[in-house]
């Protein structure tokens, strides 16, 4: 990350500087260590951040003098020769045989000087982000030689954030020096405490045992504050993890909320609809890989409608072929669909094999970003958003479309709906297809974070049922709240009890909850729903 910023800053550096600093860099080619140090000081004087790569190369033993013209260049061993680049512009200058260049050596003294010079240079970079990164580097290294450049930089710094980082770096350096007066120490502790985080904790912890009571007290207090803050940050991180898990559970359960919650059909093969969605994603990616690799980043978006159609189509077949004969017999439906789940698993196993399938993440799913102390991966964020979008779309479909109206009419009063001319059989098939199709969509998302194997769905079926019941059957909002809260509770329990025990506790918790509120979190009350 830091390298990236450095490179960016190099690109924007005006080229004029390069002409002035060029000869100064060549001065580093001298044989005398003392002269080299002077050359380094002269370079540092320029304050030109463009020399940073050259200094780094010098420090890392990759700066060479070309014997032909005494030019100092950055080199990289390339086979028998040395590949050379211009230290300022980065342009490649071809490969010379090793005998045509001489490595510029450094001793310890020079190496320290280079470190300080690098710090000072980047501290004066025109780019605030680079300056801040440099200050952070000083904070971590706590190198006393960096103190003068930090002080110089502090005197001229105008950016508030960079200034804070500089002050913190300064305080970190000062804290290492036990000979300083108590007041300075206290001020430094205050600055570090203000910063917070694990690094600050590492700096302050040794001071809690200081012989100076005031320092020890201040440090102890600061440590307590920071630990408190860290605990909150950890909780926040866990809640983010929990929301992420919750969105996965939501995706798995939301289709079931339609088939089980709205229609009252116990579909034990629901997990297999999810699995079909995941395998659809796999097939789409395979086709893209062999025929149009450029489309890979689009693979998930292409897979979504296909997964919906595949799972939804299979769902409609199941409804027409099996479930419609079993309406009003929930326990039989449960058994038949369980049998179906075995058949589907075995079918997929026979076609694709029992092993996990490789489903790749598109570029936009990879990586992470930071909010405060909390890290969020893009993959998890997209899945969370996707879960909410699917939920919202389903809500709109049920509330705002004629099909949704018919679905609600049929589930509330079948015979009345039929009497009003609604083709209930068709609505049943479509509703079941909708629920299954949503499961297929969930499969696309889950293919990104879980193993795509024939057993994929089995891992979600019990959780999904528990969530729908927990939230209150027939209540989509209940499913949303249920999934997210279970996800969060699960992740908050994990650090305390471990992953497996945490899950067991959640299961037992739901079992007990259902005893207390058999109709779930958001139960409909009244005479009509009683049996």
């Amino acid at each position: 990350m830091r390298m990236l910023l450095l490179l960016l800053s190099l690109l924007v550096t005006p080229l004029v500087w390069a002409q002035a600093t060029g000869p100064l860099i060549d001065a580093l080619g001298t044989d005398d260590f003392a002269a080299r140090e002077q050359a380094l000081a002269a370079l540092t004087e320029t304050g030109d951040p463009a020399i940073v790569p050259a200094l780094k190369a010098l420090e890392g033993g990759a700066l060479y003098r070309r014997l032909a013209d005494d030019k100092v260049l950055i080199g990289r061993e390339d086979g028998d020769g040395i590949a050379l680049t211009d230290p300022l512009t980065g342009t490649a200058l071809g490969t010379e045989p090793a005998g045509n260049v001489a490595l510029i050596r450094v001793n310890n003294r020079l190496r320290r000087a280079i470190g300080a010079s690098l710090g000072a240079l980047t501290l004066r970079s025109p780019d605030a982000a680079v300056r801040r990164t440099a200050a952070e580097a000083v904070f971590v290294s706590r190198d006393a030689t960096a103190l003068p450049p930090v002080d110089t930089a502090l005197a001229t710094e105008t950016d508030a954030k960079v200034k804070r980082s500089l002050e913190q770096a300064r305080a970190a350096i000062l804290l290492a020096d036990d000979t300083l007066p108590t007041d300075t120490k206290l001020a430094s502790i205050a600055t570090i405490a203000d910063r917070g985080g694990q690094a600050a904790l590492a700096l302050l912890n040794p001071l809690t045992g200081s012989t100076e009571p005031a320092v020890a007290k201040a440090a102890t207090e600061a440590v307590r504050l920071i630990e408190n803050k860290l605990a909150w940050a950890a909780a926040a991180q866990n809640i983010i993890y929990g929301l992420s898990l919750g969105s996965v559970l939501l995706l798995a359960a939301i289709g079931l909320a339609v088939t089980f919650g709205v229609m009252g059909v116990i579909n034990m093969a629901h997990g297999e609809m999810v699995m079909l969605g995941a395998y659809t994603t796999y097939v789409v990616q395979e086709v893209i890989r062999t025929h149009a690799p450029g489309l890979f980043d689009w693979s998930l978006l292409i897979a979504l409608p296909l997964a919906f159609i595949v799972a939804g189509g299979v769902g409609i077949l199941i409804e027409r072929g099996i479930i419609r004969f079993l309406y009003g017999r929930p326990l039989e439906t449960l058994l038949a669909t369980w049998g179906l789940s075995l058949v589907l698993q075995q079918a997929v196993r026979s076609i694709f094999g029992p092993t996990n399938m490789e489903v790749g993440n598109p570029a936009w799913m990879a990586g992470a970003f930071q909010v405060g102390d909390v890290t969020i991966t893009y993959g998890r964020m997209w899945i969370f958003l996707f879960g909410l979008i699917v939920f919202a779309a389903l809500m709109l479909l049920l509330r705002r479309t004629p099909l949704g109206l018919q679905m609600r009419a049929v589930t509330q009063n079948r015979s009345m709906a039929r009497a009003m001319g609604i083709r209930t059989a068709r609505v049943d098939a479509l509703t079941f297809g909708l629920g299954s199709g949503i499961a297929g969509l969930a499969g696309v998302a889950l293919s990104q974070i879980d193993n795509v194997s024939p057993n994929l769905g089995q891992g979600y079926i019990i959780d999904s049922f528990m969530i729908v019941i927990f939230g209150g059957v027939g209540n989509l909002w209940g499913t949303l709240v249920g999934a997210l809260s279970l996800g969060i509770v699960n992740k908050l329990l994990e650090p305390l009890a471990g992953a497996v025990l945490g899950k067991i506790l959640v299961l037992v918790g739901i079992i007990l909850f259902i005893q207390a509120r058999p109709r779930g979190l958001f139960a409909l009350k009244g005479r009509a729903i009683d049996h």
């Binding site: 409909l524 009350k525 009244g526 005479r527 009683d530």
Partner: protein, 250 residues
């Protein structure tokens, strides 16, 4: 409305309210049934008739109000089975009998006696045959006693259910629409049966069928929006302008 002393009443409801998600099914309902009294309850759909049955029999808990049985037993704290063993029988709107049991077994299961699982496990068959026969005679199903209840006609099921209530020997019978779906002959027969039953116990009948209510010839209470709108003889309440408005108006 003056509040009579609950002491000598069979059933005493005072200020009973129930609401479902904001909908007031019962609204400050007060009702008194005396021992040996037969009462007909009428009212339009949604008047709270079935909910009233539910709160008396313990299926639904009232939000507020007092329900006393025999003047002193608080029903709001008891479950269905406890209330049933106290001596309150209930007939559902839809006839509910045990369809995979014979007519005989249906009555046998309903007979007053010990209700615990171990008592049932060690129960000796044949001890109560005379009582069962007598009840089958009353409900005119003696000839079909070995037939599965599921194969009875609709009217026969209604009678079997009434027979089961008799076997329970309740002090108070709650009957929900006993003649719905019956032929005229069956209806008349049912009215006769209920009057016979009412000679020895209190009966509350909820009914829509006005001919049937007239046949019963008892005091009528009209419910509307969860509370009592009017009561008296059928002629009296039919003349009540508020009742007329509820049934015909709007």
């Amino acid at each position: 409305m003056s509040r009579p002393d609950p002491q000598h009443t069979q059933l005493y409801l005072d200020g009973v309210s129930v609401s479902f998600d904001g909908f007031r099914a019962l609204n400050n309902l007060s009702l008194i049934i005396m021992p040996g009294e037969m009462r007909a309850i009428i009212g339009p759909n949604g008047a709270g008739k079935t909910t009233m049955m539910d709160v008396i029999t313990g299926k639904t808990r009232p939000d507020r109000g007092t329900i006393l049985f025999d003047g002193d037993t608080d029903l709001t704290q008891m479950d269905e089975a406890g209330i049933a063993t106290l001596g309150i029988g209930r007939k559902f709107q839809k006839p509910t009998v045990f369809e995979s049991h014979t007519v005989w077994d249906n009555i046998d299961l309903a007979l007053a006696g010990k209700r615990g699982p171990f008592a049932s496990l060690f129960h000796r068959a044949g001890a109560d045959d005379d009582r069962i026969l007598a009840i089958l005679e009353t409900i005119r199903l003696s000839a079909r006693r070995h037939v599965l209840a599921g194969s009875l006609s609709h009217g026969q099921k209604q009678w079997l259910e009434i027979g089961m209530l008799l076997a329970q020997e309740p002090k108070l019978l709650l009957v929900d629409e006993p003649v719905a779906g019956m032929t005229d002959a069956e209806t008349a027969e049912t009215a006769r049966l209920l009057r016979e039953i009412a000679q020895t116990r209190s009966v509350v009948v909820v009914e829509h069928d006005m001919t049937f209510v007239r046949d019963l010839d008892v005091k009528v209470t009209v419910l509307h929006e969860g509370s009592v709108l009017s009561d008296g003889s059928l002629d009296h309440v039919s003349a009540d302008p508020r009742v007329i408005e509820v049934y015909l108006g709007r």
